[in-house]
Every structure is written in structure tokens, then in C-alpha cells.
């Protein structure tokens, strides 16, 4: 069974590009426009990994991570944070406190994102299903 990845971003093009890349690599992908929608779905079905934007309406990426790390069922899920912020965002602090697996600064390379996803899930080759 292909690993399930949740992708959260309020920009439809970013969501579309990531999901296209991951699906082609054999992952099952589900997309959400904000953190809250993702969190609601997560309570029904926990994914293997989450890729989330930082700034989103209703529930932002950090709030989503906070929720994920609070509950035992979801606290070990790897999280990649996408951010448009540069130097003004203290990556290290959040990586530490919210146990964020990776931070990717926009504009990012989908290829690198895929590699990081594979590393996070301890997969050496593309998942073929």
C-alpha cells in the first residue's frame, strides 16, 4: 500500500505541483486548503507524512504541527514545513519545539522535496505502489 501524504497549502498551484510530483513517485496524496481541514481529516485517517505551508487561513502550519504533536496517535508523523519567509523565520526554534522534520523555503524544488519525503519515510527508491 502506498504511503499516504497530506499536503496543505492555500495556493492551489503549489498543492497541484506537489501532489503531481508525489503521485508520479507512487505516493497517495490528499490535498487541503488550510490546516484546519487537514486536522479534521487526520482525526479520521492519519497519514504517513504531512507537507504543510506556514501561512494559511483558519489554522496555520505551526498550529497544525502543535496539534499533531499533542496527540499520541499523530505525534510521530514526519512534517515538512513550506515557508515563504526567509531570515525572519527562526527555523531552528520550531524544528526543535515542534519536531519539524524539514523546512523548505519557497520557491522550492519539487525534486528535493520528493527526496526529503523519501528520506523521512526511510525509503531509498521511489514507491511504486
Amino acid at each position: 500500500m502506498a504511503p499516504l501524504i497530506y499536503v496543505c497549502d492555500d495556493d492551489s498551484h503549489i498543492v497541484r505541483a506537489i501532489s503531481m510530483k508525489l503521485r508520479k513517485a507512487g505516493f497517495e496524496v490528499e490535498c487541503f486548503p488550510d490546516g484546519f481541514a487537514c486536522w479534521e481529516k487526520m482525526q479520521q485517517r492519519a497519514p504517513h507524512m504531512i507537507i504543510t505551508d506556514l501561512q494559511m487561513p483558519r489554522m496555520n502550519g505551526l498550529e497544525l504541527c502543535g496539534k499533531i504533536r499533542t496527540f499520541p496517535e499523530t505525534q510521530t508523523i514526519p512534517v515538512t514545513l513550506l515557508t515563504g519567509k526567509g531570515y525572519e523565520f527562526d527555523h531552528d526554534e520550531y524544528i526543535e519545539t515542534l519536531k519539524i522534520t524539514n523546512v523548505m523555503v519557497k520557491p522550492f524544488s519539487p525534486k528535493k522535496l520528493l527526496t526529503q519525503v523519501q528520506e523521512s519515510l526511510n525509503l531509498t527508491n521511489d514507491v511504486t505502489g
Partner: protein
Amino acid sequence: MKSYAKYWFLVLLLLVVSCADNLLVASQLASPTIAFTISLIASLAGWVWLVKTIQKDRDQITTYIRNPELKRPGYQRKNFFGGVFAEAIQKIEESDTELVSTKQIKTMLKARLNTLLKKEMMREAVLESLDCGILVFDAQHMLEFSNSAAKDFLIPESNQCENYSDSSLSLSKTLINDAVIPELAKLLAKTIERKDATLRRRTEFDFTSNGATSHYRAVATNLRDENQTILGTVMVVENIGEENVEKTRHAEFVSSVAHELKTPMSGIKAYVEMLIDGECDAEEAQELYGFINDQIDRLTRLVNSMLNLARIESGVVEIKRQDYELNDILKTAADVISPNATEKEITFVTELSDLYLPVFVDKDMLGQAIINLLSNAVKYTPNGHEVRLRSRMEDASAVIEVRDTGLGIPENSLPHIFDRFYRVPENNRSASGTGLGLSLVHFIVTNVHNGSISVQSKVNEGTCFTVTIPLGHKDKKRKRHVEPSASV
């Protein structure tokens, strides 16, 4: 008559009388009694004449000396005291001259003093009028002057205690006397210890005054004369709270702009990379090219709107006001926003006045302002709600209303809603933005069109922006007659 002449004349007279008496007695022409009487009378007359002369001289001298007005009577050299008096008069006349010059100097000094006092008062008034605190310390590090803006940094005498001294500072004793807050005392000590290089030092600190905490910057400078002798130290304390807030807002604005630019750039990069790697079939590739094109358009719009704001606010854009019908402009703006509302399933209602609303406006600018208001209404109104655009005539004005049933603006944010870079914190997450839209609307309505804009809002109930523009065409001949029976 020369000096002492009167005296010698008197002695000679007495000698002559005495000799005449002796001759009269010797020649037995007169009895000794008569001779004695003649001698006595002559002596008495001589003495009376001498005493009177001396009295007259004394009066003259008294008049000469005891005269505060320096009005000296003509000096009569025929005086009993002769040369002595002449010498005294000369001395007095010399001192008179000195006194006159002393008086002139005194008057001059008084005038100089007045000028200096006025200058000092002017300087003090200037220092008092400054918003920044000024503290001047003398060479002994004692506080010599402080203006009223600096009074918060002084420790009242009743509160002065040794706690404020820092034992590590050699000047601690002096600093207690100076009675300034510890931050400034430390700065003063460090500045005084600085012997060469730059003569000034600065520090920044938070300070609470009248219950309000703000950030301050203090700059201390050693003052020296031409011989490099230290005269004292001047300290200038500025409240840089506002400056910092402005800097933070600007940094947030730049960050916000960067975020807005990076989002479409991310999409473009992702699509391009996938195309380069040949991961897509022909149909997918075609779709990705379309997306890339859209994202580039989005970037262009974003950059243009930012440039637009900068150009309009800086006055680079020429304002082209002409006679228009307001509803035409509103219809055009409504047509631009309508697809966005439909996409978000928002009911978009336009209730334009049936009246002809003549206005003298820059069509593009006013149109942009209305589009901004409508765009905000759509952005901050949840799916399924309503946005309404209305126009009406009110007195000598045309009134435009943009009303929504959206998130609303909290009361504490309403006064700042037109500030540049300001975004309602509670609604920040609901939609992306630069915090410039309403600032531009305000500028266009008030500065370009002499109109006014107001806002009414309730959280979770909705917001209503009311724009008022003066009614009437510039060319009065073209102004159409308004039907009184027409209703809005």
C-alpha cells in the same frame, strides 16, 4: 591775589598798625589807651575779614565736592587755600571723567547682560520646546540643566538613595547626586571615561513613564573647549518607540510583499522543473504551460499594484479628473469583481441610484478604489454570504456604499484600518494582502477627490464602507437636470 597773600597782607597790616601806634605814643600825639584801642580795632577787623574769606572758600569747596550731579561751579583761583584747593579740584575733575567713563561702561555692560539674558532665555525656550530630553552635566558630573522632556529620567530627591549607584563605577558617588535613572547614569559614566576616539556614546533602553512603556535612545557627548579641556557632558534622550513600530511595520510589509511574490514563483519553479525533467506527457505539459502563464500574470499584477501605490502616493501619476457619471464607474468596477464573488459563491448585489450622478473624477483611480473595497469585501466574507454595492445622492454629494455580511473588523482595529501596512490581526489569516489596499483607497478618495471615507463594522455581522464624493461636473453646462421624483 596769590596764595597766602591775604594772610601776609593781614600780618603786614597788623605790623603797620603796631608801628603807627608806637609812633603816635612816642610822639605823644595820642595817649597809650587810644593807641591800644586803634590797634585792637585794626586786629579785630583784620581777623573778621580773614574768617569771612575762609568761610567763603569753605562754601565753595563744599559746593564743589558735595554735588552728586557733577555740576561744578566755576573755579575761583582767588582762594585762601590757593594751590592745595586747585590740586584738589584737578583731582576731582579727573575722577569726574573716570566716573563718566565708568557710567558708560556700566550702561554698556547692562545692555550686554540684557542681550545675553535674552539669548539664554531663547536657548532655554528652544531646549524646552524639544520633544527629546536634554540633560547637561558639568565637568564635575553634576546635573546642571535638564529640560521638561527629560524630567521623567530624573529621580525625585525624595527617592534618591544609594541603591541607584553602581559600585563598579568610580563615579558612583557623583552619579547619586546627579539623580538620573540608572540607564543614563551608566551611559554618563562610560562617556566620561572615554578619553579619546569618538566623544559620544549611545544606549537604548525600555522605560515606563506614566504607565506607558516605550523604547528610548540616549546619546551622550563630551563637551570640550578649544584647549580640549572637558566642559561637561550633554545627553539627548529620544523616544524611538514610534520609529521602531514604523520599522517593524516596514519589515512586516517587506516580508508580506516577499511572501506574496514567492507564492507564484514557487508554482512557476515547480512546474518548470517538472517540465525540464520530462515528467509530463504532452497534455499535462500543455496544462502546466497554462498554469505558468497564469502565475506570471499574477506576479505582474502584484508588482504593478505595488508600483501603482508608490507612484500615486508620491504624485508621479498624473491625476486626470474629468466629468463622468458615477454609476458608469461603479458598473465597471462591479464587472471586475463579479467573477471573484461567483467563484466564492457570494451573492453580489448592485443597487445603483436611478439618478444621474455627475462627478468630476479620475475614472481609473476612483475605479481602482471601488475595486479595492469590493475585493476586500469578497476576500473577508465567507462563502454563501453577501456583498452589496450601492450608490445614492445625499445633499451635494454622491455616496457609495460597499456593504458585506462578512467577518467584520474589531472595534480596536477600526482607527487603524486606513494606516499603511496595517492588517487586522484577527482577519490576517483569512486572506493574503499587503495592508496597502485601504491606504490607497483613502488616498484616492480624500487627497485626489476631496471626498471622505468612513467605516462601520461589527465582528461576525459585517462591514460597511461609505465613500462620499462631491457632486457636480466641472463643466456646469453639461450637468443634467435631476429628476426630483426619482428614487434610489
